[in-house]
């Protein structure tokens, strides 16, 4: 099995090229640590990928070049089309979808390699079957889990039709089936000898099938606000699937690249769960959104009754005119209403009038890690204005006005004050310390946690009811009039 390059160059060349590709991936990620170098980092990383793919194609003997070229063209066209036509608001589901394809490819490759090696040599090593079983399970869970997550984000897939307890049983059954199939795959050459090895192929696909259903059962019950965790975790899995496929194929760059992605996704997952003060197990096996836990209308009325002051765009503009420092807290509501451009325009106007204006961004605002930052960047907001929770919290006491746009649970003071609330201990943006808070929301309906938000009833809070985009546009127009 040798291609053009393998005949011309020494044996180690392929390994050296893979090493170079690995270095390019690492350097690409290093450049991602700063917005100024991040674009270059992405190019370096894609250069590493291009190099690795081209050399691989030329190194190995390609028996069916037409099939290979067709695969690359079809995949490239689909991926390119999706990336070019996507709306910024649909970004989370697209990232989830791409993840799924990577995981699926890993599972399929591991299976194909088993078939290949077996038909060539008639036997399978323990390392090969173990790695293939792991890659098959992780890759399949990533594939189906990502599709369900993307479907939920796109509004195509609803909530789980079964109760949480039944769901746990279903998960356990599919996990057990895929693990048993994996064990059989690993143990059977030793247990039954060479003669029985022909029946392992259906066992691998049984493993894949059970793991696919496991992915569905795992993600289906998880609610919208937990999606940043799920997307980050699936991202990690797609990397781990590639790394284990690297073990199957004995391919160093697959191991390096896959592990880097696995680490990246895992770190994001940890950041997301810590930002919600929850454990990973809690996200997957219950907690918010799955077990009811919401408050009744009466309980909410008791908090809101007589304490809500409604405001108008004119009044908010009066506050803006006298303010020295304004902080805007965006949430998923802003993303849904596509209000980011109107918000950015308001910020620009405030900037021109020498108002100190910044964004306070909670790590889990939105549906994926960094979602709000990506949306605001699309609306040309300079990244220096986007402040993280730890940076912005100490500044609220010197802030004249906070405008909350479509956020709820991340500014709920009960996280600090009420130990029995479902969000107790979750780090929040302490907007109540500011002189005035204006909450722009369509209604008083609760956030994902299902509990009332006493912030709305505070003396220094007023509610600006309405669609985020329309309200912001109104503020922009009123403010223009007032300052011109």
């Amino acid at each position: 099995m040798a291609g053009i390059l393998a005949e011309l160059l020494p044996e180690q060349t392929l390994q050296i090229v893979y090493l170079i590709a690995g270095i390019l991936f690492i350097q690409g990620l290093r450049d991602m640590t700063h917005p100024r170098t991040a674009t270059r980092g992405n190019l370096i990383s894609s250069g590493g990928m291009f190099l690795a793919v081209v050399v691989t194609v030329l190194w190995f003997e390609i028996l069916s070049p037409v099939i290979l070229a067709a695969g690359l063209l079809v995949g490239g066209a689909i991926g390119g089309y999706l990336a070019i036509t996507v709306e910024t608001t649909e970004m989370p589901q697209l990232v989830g979808l791409f993840n799924g394809f990577g995981g699926g490819a890993s599972a399929v490759v591991a299976g194909a390699e088993l078939i290949d090696v077996f038909s060539a040599s008639g036997s399978l090593s323990l390392e090969l079957t173990t790695s293939a079983a792991v890659a098959g399970i992780i890759g399949s869970v990533t594939f189906s889990g990502s599709f369900v997550a993307a479907g939920k984000l796109h509004g195509l897939v609803g909530d789980s039709p079964v109760s949480p307890n039944v769901g746990h049983v279903i998960k356990a059954v599919f996990l057990a089936i895929s693990l048993l199939a994996g064990l059989y795959l690993v143990a059977q050459p030793g247990l039954f000898g060479e003669s029985l090895q022909t029946d392992w192929i259906p066992v691998y696909w049984l493993l894949v099938g059970a793991a696919l259903l496991l992915g569905v059962a795992l993600v289906l019950p998880i609610g919208g606000a937990d999606m940043p965790v799920v997307i980050a975790l699936l991202n990690s899995y797609s990397g781990l699937a590639a790394a284990t496929t690297g073990f199957v194929l004995d391919n160093t760059v697959l191991i390096i690249a896959g592990t880097l992605v696995g680490a990246s996704g895992m770190i994001l997952t940890v950041i997301m769960t810590e930002s919600m003060n929850r454990s990973l197990a809690n996200v997957f096996f219950g907690g918010l959104g799955t077990g009811g836990g919401g408050e009744s209308d009466e309980e909410m009325d008791a908090i809101y009754e007589g304490n809500i002051s409604e405001t108008s765009a004119e009044e908010v503009v009066m506050l803006l005119e006298t303010a020295n420092r304004v902080v805007i807290v965006p949430g998923y509501g802003m993303a849904v209403a596509q209000a980011q451009h109107a918000v950015a325009e308001l910020v620009e106007l405030l900037d021109e009038n020498d108002v100190d204006v910044e964004f306070g961004i909670h790590p889990v605002a939105g549906r994926m890690p960094g979602h709000m930052n990506a949306l605001l960047a699309e609306a040309d907001v300079p990244y220096e204005k986007m402040r993280e929770l730890e940076e912005v919290n100490p500044t609220f006491s010197q802030t004249d006005l906070v405008i909350v746009s479509g956020a709820n649970d991340v500014v709920n003071p009960r996280a600090n004050e009420d130990d029995s609330s479902p969000i107790a201990g979750m780090p929040i943006l302490n907007v109540t310390e500011a002189r005035h808070v204006v909450v722009n929301k369509r209604s008083l309906s609760p956030g994902f946690s299902g509990i009332a938000n006493p912030l709305f009833a505070r003396d220094n809070t007023s509610m600006l009811f309405g669609d985020a985009k329309e309200s912001m546009q109104e503020l922009v127009n009123e403010y223009k009039e007032a300052t011109s």
Binding site: D116, S264, A374
Partner: protein, 93 residues
């Protein structure tokens, strides 16, 4: 390469990844995720070999499917991060 050598590579890469990724600011988490996502499409290398040199029809067909999926992942992931990052750098300098 033996299993243990591969394992060594795996563990060391995990540490390198940890050190770098913890330094990436929240601002860039979305482009990081889609960029990392594209890197996980590295499994394309395996797909290429399997699709191109599959000794049975079944392995070749599976290889084709894998090449399509991995290429979607790679091309889509890099493009999406590129578009996103170019928005960051427009006024982010």
């Amino acid at each position: 390469m033996t299993f243990v050598e591969n394992l060594t590579l795996f563990v060391l890469s995990a540490f390198v990844g940890y050190e770098i990724i913890t330094k990436i600011p929240t601002n860039l988490h979305t482009p990081l995720m889609s960029g990392a996502n594209a890197i996980s499409g590295i499994t394309l290398l395996g797909s290429v070999v399997v699709a191109g040199s599959g000794s049975t029809t079944l392995a070749t067909a599976l290889g084709f499917v894998a090449v399509v999926m991995a290429t979607i992942n790679v091309i889509g992931g890099y493009l999406v991060s590129h578009f996103m990052l170019s928005q960051f750098s427009q006024r982010g300098r």
